[in-house]
Amino acid sequence: MTEAPNAFEMRGIVKRFPGVLANDRVDFACQVGEVHALLGENGAGKSTLMNILAGMYRPDVGEILVKNQRVSFHSPQDAIAHGIGMIHQHFMLVPSHTVAENMVLGLNQPRFLLNLSHIEEQVRALGEQYGLVVNPRAKIWELSVGEQQRVEVLKMLFRGAKVLIMDEPTAVLTPQEVETLFLTLRDMIKQGHSIVFISHKLDEVVSIADRVTVLRYGRVTAANVPAQGTTKSQLARLMVGREVLFLVEKEKIEPGEIILTTDRLCAYNDRGLPALRDVSLQIRAGEILAIAGVAGNGQRELAEVLTGLRSATSGSAHFEKTPLDNHTNWLEIGQHLAHIPEDRAAVGSVPSLSIAENLILKRFKRPPIAKGWSINKAAVRQNATRLVQEYNIATPTVETPARMLSGGNLQKVILARETSEKPKLLIADQPTRGLDVGAIESIHRLLMEHRNRGAAILLISEELDEIFSLADRIAVMYEGQIVGEMPAEGADIHQIGLMMAGVKAEA
């Protein structure tokens, strides 16, 4: 088998960020004329690695070769000058400008006067060459997401990119658009380009890629595996591994009443695409239902619908007998329903207020915290002292501003605030993301305690280890649907990994 030349090679790449080793001596190479998939879970280091290749970051250690020459990129412009361009998950397009204007932004030619009709012609011609049809006069905000992606691709081709890095390109596309994209990619390969396809979706990877490299926790677990001839379950195993890091004592509890039900819940996300598709769930008192899945498959929207931050388009959800919809009195239900939001700094806390004041965010209108028009300072302090102790929050005083807390302690504050009134239902969305081991342990213990006293818990998490150690039942979400549900005991982690990556359960 003749080896095609390498379009580029990355050797021994090491990249550290504060508190995390994102890339651990990674080697990665891509041949001319191939689609090479970079597979791995969130946080595996794929985006970081490719950001280095695209000139966004500098590696701490390691080197990059393009066409067998050592190169050193100081900026994305350097990378593009060498023919490497990256298309990010968040498009770098100015919404109020036209396609043509975006196409030409940052280029050296033309220097001063912009002959827009000339540029539009060039865009049209380029689009035809690659089958990427887009109206050069259209404003970006008028285009669909798929069309916007086409513009991003064209933008790179316009700049002479030979290597295109696509970061989770199908995350925002409809199935038809995905097909179109794949056809386009195949076409580009024939014209001599190379594509790096970052993804966590096994089906797609197997369908489009020539070779696959798998990353896990910053390291390469499989390199240059030919896509044909490898089973999906082999790839899944390489992706998610088999270690379970934490073991928490799990009492055997008989689940009680049904606390939460959803029936064929549907909802759109912020872009107007379907995020939830006929999601039906049930959680009983005293059990933890964990939703496994890579972030972005509808989990956040599910949490938002269940806590009144988003409207469902069809289907229903009930908390005990009460329907959860536009007419729900959320302030009242808030006493029984706790929500640990995904974005703790933005939505969850008030940074400049003290911890004590953050802890009363849901309770300040009711006694004993409220005393007529004023706030009972003594009660606030008492409440805070008690909670700080109970939840083991590390802080110099209760008057310390919340923004000075570490991520783990802030999360504990949010937990304390939400759960101190013994809610019946607790929705935790990625509760341990970005936290250190100690904090993760405490939060796991807390969740267990609530489960043991009879709360129903919906745990949304990307970490399979976490799910396996906490859950009673596991449901897997992929592209807005529940693709599998099973008891945690005896669940097959590989099966789950496959489901998370979109592969239907194999017989």
């Binding site: 966004m56 900026s75 990010h88 397009l93 100015v94 400008h97 940052g106 006067l113 827009l116």
Partner: protein, 317 residues
């Protein structure tokens, strides 16, 4: 009043509107550029005052009108540089920094302008024109400058590469950054430009349109310019019309002082004059109310990144 006299009056008013509106035009144009780049500068009043005073002083010392205008631009730019440093490099709040510029400019121009109060003013070069009779050539010239400036500004903004870069920086700085455009430097450039233009506007006032220096010369014109930018939807051509319109509103009380005018003469009716003085400000609010709806409909909103300091994210852009 005969028809002929009314006609002459109308033309006089029109000319007066153009003259009166031109300083506004300069300031508004400058602020449009600054805000299109994403930086709001509330210090226009301060910069105009500094420009008016320094321009007058420069002329007074040298007798050179052009030098006066340039000095006004220079000092306006200097003040803007201060604002730029604080809001772009130090990333402090744009509102408060702008206010500080106004205070500083007001105070500085007041103190340093002391010796120039009530001094002799630049003598106009008189032209004799049909209808308007005696007209100052300098006024005519700067009107023409303004009339040329606006379409030029529009062209720069919409049809040139630097203009495209400018707009991108104000709309989506991350995208501009990712394509190699220096966001911070671009913002600095246009904030300083805005200051120069405001300074020019002030100097135009104290040297040409309303010659002379007194404390607080611009009497709030700079604040109107802030509102005008919004009303003009950040478009230079619209800014042109809006500035002249407001020039008209400011001149009306004066021009209508002819006692022979039926009903609306402000000499006979001084209270009417005061009420008319309110018009520009009421109009701005009214326009904002209208604009809030229009913007929703036509998506002619502010530059998306206006008022937000640019920080390149740690992990990626």
């Amino acid at each position: 009043m005969t028809g002929n006299e009314l006609f002459v009056l109308a033309v006089t008013i029109l000319f007066g509107a153009l003259v009166s509106g031109t300083p506004l035009l300069f300031a508004t144009m400058g602020e449009i550029f600054s805000e299109r780049a994403g930086v709001m500068n509330l210090g226009i009043e301060g910069m105009m005052l500094v420009g008016a005073m320094s321009g007058f002083a420069a002329w007074f010392k040298t007798g050179n009108l052009l030098l006066g205008l340039l000095a006004g631009m220079a000092f306006g730019a200097l003040l803007a540089l201060l604002h730029a440093f604080i809001t772009i490099s130090l990333r402090a709040d744009q509102v408060v920094s702008g206010l500080a510029v106004t205070f500083l400019g007001t105070g500085l121009s007041s103190i340093l302008g002391q010796p120039y109060v009530g001094q002799r003013t630049p003598p106009p070069t008189t032209l004799v024109l049909p209808i308007l009779e005696h007209v100052a050539a300098e006024q005519l010239i700067i009107i023409v400058v303004g009339l040329i400036l606006a379409p030029l500004a529009w062209y720069y903004l919409n049809r040139t590469r630097p203009g495209l870069n400018l707009r991108s920086v104000g709309e989506y700085p991350s995208a501009a950054d990712s394509l190699g455009i220096n966001v911070l430097r671009t913002r600095y450039l246009y904030v300083i430009f805005g200051g120069a233009m405001s300074g020019l506007g002030g100097a135009t006032m104290s040297l040409i349109t309303d010659p002379g220096w007194v404390d607080g010369k611009t009497s709030g014109l700079g604040w109107i310019a802030v509102g005008l930018v919004i009303f003009a939807s950040w478009d230079p051509l619209r800014g042109l019309w809006v500035s002249y319109f407001f020039g008209l509103l400011r001149r009306l009380p004066l021009d209508l002082q002819n006692p022979a005018l039926p009903l609306i003469s402000t000499a006979n009716n001084p209270s009417l004059g005061r009420l008319m003085d309110m018009l520009p400000y009421l109009a701005t609010i009214f326009i904002l109310i209208l604009g809030s709806r229009e913007a929703l409909r036509k998506r002619l909103g502010a530059p998306a990144a206006l008022g937000v300091p640019y920080v390149r994210g740690e992990r990626g852009l």
